[in-house]
């Protein structure tokens, strides 16, 4: 097509110009190599001034304090119930056996024996491993934060659905919010609330609202027109239409939103240990910092089990289809499960009353196998030490340092031109402008070198992830059963809080750049594998049959039919992969990196809101630019393929 050919030519010209500028770096004025000082705008100071104004002059402090007091009170209630903190209502702690029985019954009611075993087993494991208190500290925050997020998200979603104007304003805000790294949320909260469980809960609430808004909006927009018309013809008022027709019909989407909220909460609660949130995350952080591998593996398993359980339970709830029950004359018959649950609870309480073991498992009674794990790991690590050492040497000397130096060597003007070239080739002048605007802002913020280190880590990691993920995805997609299994593994891996991925890499590579890259690679490979499989498996069978009947070999079918058709879906995976690695790079900062993440950690420890927000936005802009480019490309491919 002429227009895209034209765009391609402009892109090539810009690319050539960028290459020329890079080659002739020696001839360039210094102002084109790094942004000159007079060009760097004091964004951080402006943001700090705005925050100061909000906090003190506008009296927002009082509002946030009031809100945090409510949260604090609720936290003390759940803390009392779950691990017996001496606060109102002074009933707790609930014996672990009762919690485990409740989880078991919930799993059974929602999906059956397997989920029941998973949910019940998770809590039994936690109790027996002697991690009950930490896990309950984590859970008590989720129990408070998740309902808040759901309510806030639902309300905002309904408002955005009601008012298209609000929707238009909200959309870009949500885009930025969903690409801001976790730490960027923490700094303002620390300023307003301080550190501790209360701040952890509030940052968790804020962090997990956006997906709920998105899913509410999506659900409300997806309600079939005829169902709404049926409601109107039944004489429903606007309120009745919303509460009895639209929201119940959007139930599945809204509950998927709840599922996402819970998972986001868990991810954030674990990370909130950086701002003094007690619980599993804090324990893990301490253990990792002191390199106690055995214990951190145990905690890691607990977090993973908890994540999988919460995910499966809430997803089962969301996807459960209504089913009629045979009418039973007895109240007992209709509420069989409820009665069994109550009986189990009573039994548990009685049991715990007489046998303290069922109330709480003491640390010394715990079945911890940290010692043997440590020994085993030690032998394993020593066994593969030559391999990891070589890998570390190879990556650092031949891949990481040269790439990093190349990124840092590039004049910033040449990088901007390069991005403009890519943007122009993909989406014409608009995309070029978007790319230059995002990265131009990063240049103006004065964090160019740090940002380039982040970019280099992400590009190297995503490339390695693709090298691993693409063949793995293609291999898995060859057989449906295998594809299903690998997809299940990917799904499960995606529910893990990102923090978890740091345990094995620190184990293998110690505290180094290679560990960071390895963590990001594993985290970023998951979506690539997943969407490669999904893309390849969703190619229409007629097309493959047509290729077979044309006498194509399997390789030819793969290259000429399946991969081109799967490309748009695979691009979605690439997009997610970049997003995930940006998040991961920032989290991995505490292993010791020199990028934006490290600066953000510093901003967190000095509670410098302006700096933290600027750094967070810089990361968000990288993500948004990639998202823009990949989405454009994927859409263009889809249009070309007539999908």
């Amino acid at each position: 097509m002429p227009p895209s050919a034209h765009a391609g030519r402009v892109g090539q010209m810009l690319l050539a110009l960028a290459v020329c500028m890079a080659m002739g770096k020696a001839l360039l004025p210094p102002g084109l190599i790094r942004p000159p000082d007079w060009l760097i705008l004091p964004f951080a100071d402006w943001i700090n001034a705005a925050f100061f104004f909000l906090q003190n002059d506008l009296g927002l402090m009082a509002v946030t304090r009031a809100f945090s007091d409510v949260v604090d009170w609720l936290l003390s209630v759940t803390a009392n119930l779950l691990y017996g903190k001496s606060r109102w209502p002074n009933l707790g702690p609930i014996p672990w056996i009762v919690v485990a029985a409740t989880a078991f019954m919930a799993g059974y009611a929602l999906k059956g024996w397997r989920l029941a075993a998973l949910a019940g087993g998770t809590f039994v494991w936690i109790a027996l491993m002697g991690q009950w208190k930490w896990a309950m500290e984590t859970l008590s925050v989720i129990l408070v934060a998740a309902p808040f997020s759901v309510a806030l998200g639902l309300g905002t979603g309904v408002l955005a659905w009601r008012s298209p104007w609000f929707d238009r304003v909200l959309n870009p805000v949500l885009n930025i919010a969903q690409s801001l790294p976790h730490f960027a949320y923490m700094i303002p909260v620390v300023v307003f609330i301080g550190v501790g469980p209360k701040a952890g809960a509030i940052v968790t609430i804020i962090f997990s609202v956006p997906p709920m808004i998105r899913m509410t909006l999506l659900g409300l927009k997806m309600v079939p027109e005829e169902v709404i018309e049926a409601g109107k013809m039944s004489g429903a008022t606007r309120w009745q239409l919303l509460t009895r027709v639209r929201i119940p019909t959007a139930r599945s989407q809204i509950l998927i939103g709840v599922n996402q909220v819970i998972m986001q909460c868990l991810a954030m609660v674990v990370l909130a240990s950086f701002i003094g949130m007690p619980g599993l995350g804090q324990k893990l952080l301490q253990l990792l910092q002191s390199l106690k591998i055995g214990l951190s593996v145990e905690i890691g398993v607990t977090i993973v089990l908890l994540a999988v359980t919460l995910d499966r339970l809430s997803k089962a709830w969301a996807l459960r289809l209504p089913e009629h029950a045979e009418p039973s004359p007895h109240w007992l018959g209709r509420n069989r499960l409820l009665v069994i649950w109550l009986a189990l609870c009573v039994l548990g309480v009685v049991l715990a009353h007489f046998v303290p073991y069922f109330l709480e498992v003491e640390r010394k009674q715990a079945l911890s196998v940290a010692g043997p794990i440590d020994a085993l790991m030690d032998r394993f690590i020593r066994l593969i030490a030559p391999v990891t050492a070589w890998l570390r040497w190879f990556l650092i000397t031949w891949v990481l340092i040269p790439t990093r130096d190349a990124y840092l060597w590039m004049p910033f003007s040449a990088v901007l031109l390069l991005l403009a070239a890519v943007g122009w080739a993909i989406g014409g002048v608009r995309s070029a402008a978007v790319c230059v605007a995002y990265f131009g802002l990063i240049a103006l913020s004065g964090w160019w070198d740090r940002a380039m280190i982040t970019v280099y880590t992400v590009t190297v990691s995503v490339l390695i992830a693709a090298l691993i993920g693409l063949p793995l995805g293609i291999w898995a997609a060859r057989r449906p059963v295998r594809a299903e299994r690998v997809l299940l593994i990917c799904d499960t891996a995606q529910t893990f809080p990102s923090f978890i991925y740091l345990i094995p890499v620190i184990m293998l590579f110690g505290v180094s750049d290679v560990a960071v890259v390895a963590a990001v690679v594993v985290f970023a490979a998951v979506p690539i594998v997943r969407y490669t499989i999904e893309g390849l498996c969703s190619v229409p069978p007629e097309l493959i049959e047509a290729a077979d009947m044309s006498g194509a070999t399997r390789r030819q079918t793969l290259w000429h039919v399946r991969l081109p058709m799967a490309l748009p879906t695979m691009l979605v995976g690439a997009n997610q992969s970049v997003m995930f690695s940006l998040f991961m790079v920032i989290i991995a900062a505490f292993i010791g990196t020199q990028d934006l993440g490290q600066e953000m950690q510093r901003a967190l420890s000095t509670t410098d809101v302006g700096k933290g927000v600027v750094l967070g936005l810089a990361v968000a802009f990288m993500g948004l630019m990639t998202d823009h480019l990949i989405t454009r490309w994927s859409e263009a491919r889809k249009r070309a393929l007539g999908l």
């Binding site: 079939p224 109107k232 013809m233 139930r251 009629h324």
Partner: protein, 356 residues
Amino acid sequence: MAHPAQRRVGLPVWNKGHRVRETVISCRNVSKIFGPDPVRHLAELKVNPQAPLNGHVHAVREVDLDIERGEMLVVMGLSGSGKSTLVRCLSRLVEITGGHVTVEGQDIATLSDAGLIDLRRRKMGMVFQGFGLLPHRTVLDNVAFPLEMRGQDRKTRYARARDMLTLVGLTGREGYFPRELSGGQQQRVGIARSLAVEPDIWFLDEPFSALDPLIRREMQDEFLRLKGLLNKTVIFITHDFDEALRLADRIAIMKDGRIVQCDTPDRIVLHPATDYVARFTAEIDRARVVRAGSLVRPLDEPPEGAAWAATRTIRDLARDLVADSRKVIPVADAAGAVIGGLNRQEALDVLLGVAG
């Protein structure tokens, strides 16, 4: 610029003669335009009928229509002809761009939100092509939904809903959820729901189009049974001409948002107003549609022999027609009075499909 076929045509005497005519819904010059600025586009069209569309879609154009109490009107047309939109204009599910719709003398455009809700709660029921059932509610709760909206207490509304389910033959399925039922059963639930408030006006928007042919036939019979029991004003949409012929008192044929002809089935078959209508009717077996009454001519001489009932179709009369030897056969209305004569040759032409 009223098209001749758009003018109201009186109903044949043998069909409605005994009823007092009373208009329930009347449309005057109704137009519906979708797009960025429909009102301005309509004003432009008045000045210049060739005005550029600018992204507007003219779904309904200057429709005049009167629907009488107890009548069964079928709105017929291909997809995109505006029939669904027209029916949604009648219940104000879509706001009309120009013209007036009056229901029982009340211009519905002037109704407040509360007035509109009240009208729908008391007077109207609607059945949808895709059923429009609430997926999270049981069959019983779906049928009781309009009553719940009216604020009736649980006991009364469940009793009424159970009656409705018995009426449509779904007893025993009260506790089921819509997804557990077949398409035909789901539409029975839709019908029961639309009848729960005892509406006077019953809208059916392609109710059987999503069903298999066999089930569709069964549901049409069921529908005719219900209609016979309930005596409501029915506005029925379909794109299936056979269905229209089978069910209708009158058929309104739509094309490009206009009603090109609105008349009784046999008149549409015998005297199509335009080529478009003629093409629709070309494949139809006229003998099944045309009734003795519509071929009646005034008698020149006194009637000879036994008179035939005006409501019988030519197909019903086939044996008699062939066996009879009279040239002109007297035809009598429901009351037994002779209303004219049937030319046997003409009737035989219809029976044999010879173009007359």
